[in-house]
Symmetry: C2
Subunit: 505 residues, 2 copies
Amino acid sequence: MARTTFEEISAADFFYRNREIAGFTNPSRAIFAAVRELIENSLDAAETLKIPPDIYVRLSFADEAGLETGVYTLRVEDNGIGILPRHIPSAFGQVLYGSKYKPKQQRGTFGLGGKMAILYGQITTHQPARIISSTGMSKIYAYKLRIDIQRNRPLILDRKVLINKERWRGTIVQFSLEGDYGRAMPKILEYFKQTAMVNPYANLTFVDPKGRLYKFTRVTEEMPDPPRETLPHPYGVDVELLQRLIQVTPFRSMLEFMKNHFHRVGEITANKFLKFSNISPSKNPKKLSHGEVVRLMRMLKKFGEFLPPDASCLSPLGEELLRAGISKELKPEFVAVRQRRPSAYAGHPFIVEAAVAYGGEIPRRGSFLIHRFANRIPLLYDEASDVSTIVMNNMNWRRYKVTPDMPIVIAVHICSTKIPYKTVGKEFIADRPEVRREIANGLREVARRLQRFLTRKEHAHTEQKRLDIFTRYLPKIAKFSTQLAGKDKSPDIKRLLRSVKRFGT
Amino acid sequence: MARTTFEEISAADFFYRNREIAGFTNPSRAIFAAVRELIENSLDAAETLKIPPDIYVRLSFADEAGLETGVYTLRVEDNGIGILPRHIPSAFGQVLYGSKYKPKQQRGTFGLGGKMAILYGQITTHQPARIISSTGMSKIYAYKLRIDIQRNRPLILDRKVLINKERWRGTIVQFSLEGDYGRAMPKILEYFKQTAMVNPYANLTFVDPKGRLYKFTRVTEEMPDPPRETLPHPYGVDVELLQRLIQVTPFRSMLEFMKNHFHRVGEITANKFLKFSNISPSKNPKKLSHGEVVRLMRMLKKFGEFLPPDASCLSPLGEELLRAGISKELKPEFVAVRQRRPSAYAGHPFIVEAAVAYGGEIPRRGSFLIHRFANRIPLLYDEASDVSTIVMNNMNWRRYKVTPDMPIVIAVHICSTKIPYKTVGKEFIADRPEVRREIANGLREVARRLQRFLTRKEHAHTEQKRLDIFTRYLPKIAKFSTQLAGKDKSPDIKRLLRSVKRFGT
């Protein structure tokens, strides 16, 4: 008889079997994903300290592998916060172990990318990974490790402690992986360029396998405030979260419970809410029955008077930095940027920043080019399904006198404590109505400004032509009239020319 | 000083925090995902035994929840293989525990969907799930359980053993969840319709929250052969897999190791390969060094003489069944179906089936409508990024005299031991060149046949017009000529009419 056999697999094993869903689809995507995941970790590590990031990436050819693939060694060095030695092995050798599992704006969200890169390197080259890190104290720790995929545990092969005379702080990750750099190159370079665009305070250095050096130098030392961790907003909670909070809370009354565990709930709101939902403020949260917890969850969603999530925990780029980044990398003739007011979906605050750049060194393509960013990282794959692309495609650009044959780049940056990615590989963002609305409003605003610029430009152009005609014919008319009147001296036509000038061109 | 805090989370916790990536994006998508995941498990469970599936799905309204959402109870009953009692709790209450972790064509691939549905129900309603199952032996087992998300373990609340007098076999899953049925309804009905299309041997019954009954009755009892589990193909292996095989192999020589653990490797191929890679056939695989294992992996990929994956482990629908399914659900005037020959990507065999349906009850839409299927399930979301959509959009349909204003439905079915999904929610398929090529060839073939049909149709039309003219004027001419010749009886023009007929219309 047919029988079904069951087995349990570890989280590492799950992602090993399904590496495509984490972005490691093929040798070209894998090398791209490895580079980006490590850079994003490094940027996060520097930003935590509000230090302008200095990131050095070197990809070197180590060996032939398949017909189109090679073995490469990837090394990424940063000046970030560093990792305490007791966390190093698991932070790099254990899937679902990490520092990103909290409501905070971060590039990493799944706590998975770095480990996936190392795991992919291991299964294609069987080389161990090397991690060197220091928090800037007296010692530097160097580990050589491998991942035990079936058990999802790090295997430490070697560990060294070095004296940190110069008080170096940061992390170095180095490992080998099989990949197709030739095919990945354009995307990797584009990734660096766009990362520089939205991180204009970062120094990025990339040495590619041919020894070519790419340097993206910061244009400012000024950094946005680092994002802060936040409490869960009442609109976003579910029963599981409530149970967990009840389990760990030190507070013995519902009033204190509400005030201390939720975002934007103070004394007044807490009291109002408890009255609304008919719960006694002095009730001990640990005494709530299952049914009461479910009711509490529904009441939290129903109560209309919670303040919207506060976006002060977010760290958008700001219009100035976004403009600086775009101007630096695209060198356009005109840029309009717009930061929208904070909004929220399912209890998660988010801010949309939209920009449109026109002319200058931007080439004409016959269609709009969109740059998508989320928590200051560029998204380069699966554009067609992304919410920003959908909004852009549905927008009536003709209304703004903007046509696809113009040299235009559109940029959308979304920052949030929780980016609604559709894939673990962070390729694209889900089409949430709240997010869609903000993007649409942002794009409309910058489109209007572009329209004004284009109108002015056109007027200026028409005006110039008009003035050219006056300038050409007025002297002749003046000369002719002078002769006709039998006078010697032509009148001064400069004043006349000034009077027909309509705009200050 | 800023500090980074690390934590370890369970697999259940990971998917609880990131339910969007598994398809549970919002209340509407969640209810759709829950229905589809359970149906797909049921279809797999019946197919394992090659029994025509009988699946009963009931969704009933239980309570108000939010403004647009309600609490629903979902019940799915099947006549599948059933689950042994010792596996029931983990199969429904533990993430990354399941029967789908093997190289075999199955609807489920991540072993995640059913648990995610139950987990989602739990966090939105806090109700336990009920599972009733029997393998058709003397007893029926009924469980009431919950998932301990933080520990990723099932919590058994109740367990009953019943006597199975009627030797019932199958599984019943019932649980509550919050959802937005109003918004999900069109997608759910479309899902049933398309599922019926590619599973024409299944009976599907759906009772919706308003008590409306939807019945999709089988048109055939004939079922394709059930898919079989297969060995890994040498082109698809990595170091991790080799290490695992070496760990478990009972064979003491490389020759036996190669012959017994790989797909399509027999004595001759094994010997050839070992000679090619300069490995002694008598070498003990357990004695291979790390370096030798890596070398073995590279040699496996380099050796050009392995036979391509054998698709006999796959179970495509077949042209007849696909035609029957499409004819039944779409009632078109014309259908062309085409099963491509087996192909492979990264060692995974796959088969593409393509179809185009024209006219009849298919409405005109102004653009092509595509139905995408993978291992006999319809894919309904994120169409824009799917490989089939990309191929369809890039195809030069005008070459086949086909235009978007025609009433046309295109269908693509991919079956494989490993569908290259891009998302855990199984929304769309990655753009693999090998897959893309097969789809393109399949679509071209059916497009050519459609073209022939359209040409014939046009000719028939022209011919009819031509015949109409002859039929109208020949009798008149005959009559006139008869009179002119002074005869009484007109000649028989029927023979004449037959002779001008060009095609058998």
